[in-house]
């Protein structure tokens, strides 16, 4: 009986250990897989031509694997979505935590969580049938499948992350700061602007970075509304193609083990590096906020 108990303890302990380190094992495995498949690609294709090349013709007779247009596409989407989502998100967070009456506050929080729960493909097709035609008519352009459409849809997708994490940071600002400011005759807005926002800044930066992380890794919605032209865009009203969309769209058509196939892994590796950096920055600020 006693031995059985010991055995049970042993098994449970090991299972918990394995579950605990599973996440990190997955990350390491994915990383090695990307390095192996993508890395071998750089044996035959110059890494400089890959990152700075202007042309992405993976299937032509003399294929060219320049991902600069794809990086530019991702960048345009990220910048645009950030410009839209950050002020909106921060103001929404301020409104929810500092201004809104109790009932409305709960309703808004639930709404933000709902927004986060919408599958990206749904965001994509809703954008395709509603936003895309509007952009087409408003700007009088041949197609509404543009970077702008992607920015707007992805701003929606980044909003929940920015709002909920910023709101946590704002809520974490101690009441006695606010009380002190109030007792000096500061108005609600002055307290928000001069005390709460500066005190919550690390958390807000973290929320923005995590929001950006979400945008840069997003695939489905962006693929459905941006038009997917692999050219370096000169503005928001042109079609763009992101790195993620390229991988998703082309992976099914490539021959396993071919240069094209491995070049997609190399794109994946670039994405991995970018998101790793973004998460690292976000994490640094989250820790700062806790101090």
């Amino acid at each position: 009986m006693r031995r059985l108990k010991k055995l049970r303890d042993y098994i449970i302990e090991k299972m918990i250990f394995i579950s605990g380190i599973a996440a990190i094992i997955f990350v390491i495995l994915i990383f090695f897989f990307l390095v192996k498949e993508g890395g071998s690609f750089f044996g035959e294709y110059n890494i400089k031509d890959f990152i700075f090349g202007h042309f992405w013709y993976p299937a032509s007779d003399s294929p060219r694997f320049g991902i600069l247009p794809l990086i530019a596409g991702s960048l345009v989407i990220v910048v645009g979505a950030t410009i839209l989502a950050v002020p909106l998100g921060i103001m929404a967070a301020l409104y929810i935590s500092e201004v809104a009456p109790k009932g409305l506050k709960d309703l808004l929080k639930a709404g933000v969580e709902m927004l986060a729960a919408i599958p990206s493909v749904v965001v994509g097709f809703v954008g395709m049938v509603t936003l895309v035609p509007v952009i087409k008519t408003v700007f009088g352009i041949p197609t509404g499948l543009t970077a702008l459409s992607g920015c707007i849809m992805l701003a929606f997708m980044a909003m929940p992350t920015i709002v909920s994490i910023s709101e946590d940071a704002i809520n974490a600002v101690p009441w006695n700061y606010k009380e002190g400011a109030l007792a000096l005759g500061a108005t609600k807005w002055q307290i928000m602007y001069r005390i709460i926002l500066p005190a919550a800044t690390p958390g807000i930066i973290a929320s923005v970075m995590l929001g950006i992380g979400r945008v840069i890794g997003e695939t489905m919605a962006v693929m459905m509304v941006t038009g997917n032209a692999a050219v370096i865009p000169s503005g928001f009203l042109e079609s763009v193609r992101t790195m993620t969309a390229t991988i998703a769209a082309e992976m099914g058509e490539t021959v396993r083990g071919s240069s094209h196939y491995r070049s997609l892994f190399a794109i994946g590796a670039v994405l991995f590096v970018i998101t790793f950096i973004i998460n690292f920055i976000a994490d640094t600020y989250l820790h700062k906020n806790k101090e």
Partner: protein, 254 residues
């Protein structure tokens, strides 16, 4: 004398938290340029009364007030008072020092920036003067740009007072300002209070009866929401009229 800005007077003041009556028919008149202390056991309403004077209770939901509260000749609950201006005139120091997470300089500048920005050079002057008046200038003049959160508790509390002094209030309310400080720091803050009463009316809520006896000119003893006795500190502590006051100050309860 009653239209002096440093005077606070209440008439039949009652305060309710929901249905709980936290202050009962309080009539008090606080004299200018003196230190008035409010003493009494926990929950007697002394902090609540203090927070009536700068309307800090307004931030709590479900608070209702009846009766009159005058600052000078102004009825601060019925006279269309601008609360932000009232709170500039009647500053408050809290139990736990609460400097803002800003630099020393910006802490003192805060009130000036939100009320009337006096311009950079005037600002520097006021900040120096304010820090000098709380005897922090010599200690902190080389650390003005450093965060105020790294100061000692006593320095923080002084800074919180400097922050008020900068906006030139008429009255300073102190809500157990020394309860987190050690005896030496407490003594220094008390000396500062005596210094400050030359310019300001000071009202202090304290748990520490010796402190009330040491620093204040007038003392009010509160119990269960009532102002049991109010008068000269020397009288309250030597020959109180009420039996309850005597029991409290001799340590029979509380």
């Amino acid at each position: 004398m009653t239209d002096h800005n440093g005077v606070i007077r209440t008439e039949k003041l009652n305060l309710f938290y929901g249905s709980f009556r936290a202050l009962k028919d309080v009539d008090i008149e606080i004299a200018p340029n003196q230190i008035t202390s409010l003493i009494g056991p926990s929950g007697c309403g002394k902090s609540t009364l203090l927070r009536v004077f700068n309307r800090m209770n307004d931030t709590i939901e479900g608070v209702k007030i009846t009766g009159r509260v005058y600052n000078g000749s102004e009825d601060i609950y019925h006279g269309g008072t601008d609360i932000d201006i009232l709170r500039r005139r009647i500053g408050m120091v809290f139990q736990r020092p609460n400097p803002f997470p800003l630099s020393v300089y910006e802490n003192v500048a805060f009130g000036l920036r939100i009320h009337s920005f006096p311009g950079k050079s005037a600002l520097d002057g006021i900040i120096e003067e304010s820090l000098k008046s709380v005897l922090l200038w010599d200690e902190l003049k080389d650390r003005l740009k450093k965060s105020a959160l790294n100061l000692s508790l006593e320095q923080k509390q002084r800074l919180c007072i400097a922050r008020l002094v900068a906006v030139r209030p008429d009255i300073i309310l102190l809500d157990e300002p020394c309860s987190t400080l050690d005896p030496m720091a407490t003594l220094k803050i008390e000396e500062l209070m005596v210094e400050l009463k030359k310019k300001y009316t000071i009202i202090i809520v304290t748990h520490n009866m010796q402190q009330a006896a040491r620093v204040s000119d007038d003392t009010g003893f509160m119990l269960l929401g009532e102002l049991v006795e109010f008068g000269k500190t020397s009288k309250i502590f030597t020959s109180p009229v009420e039996k309850k006051t005597e029991d409290y100050i001799t340590g029979r309860f509380g």
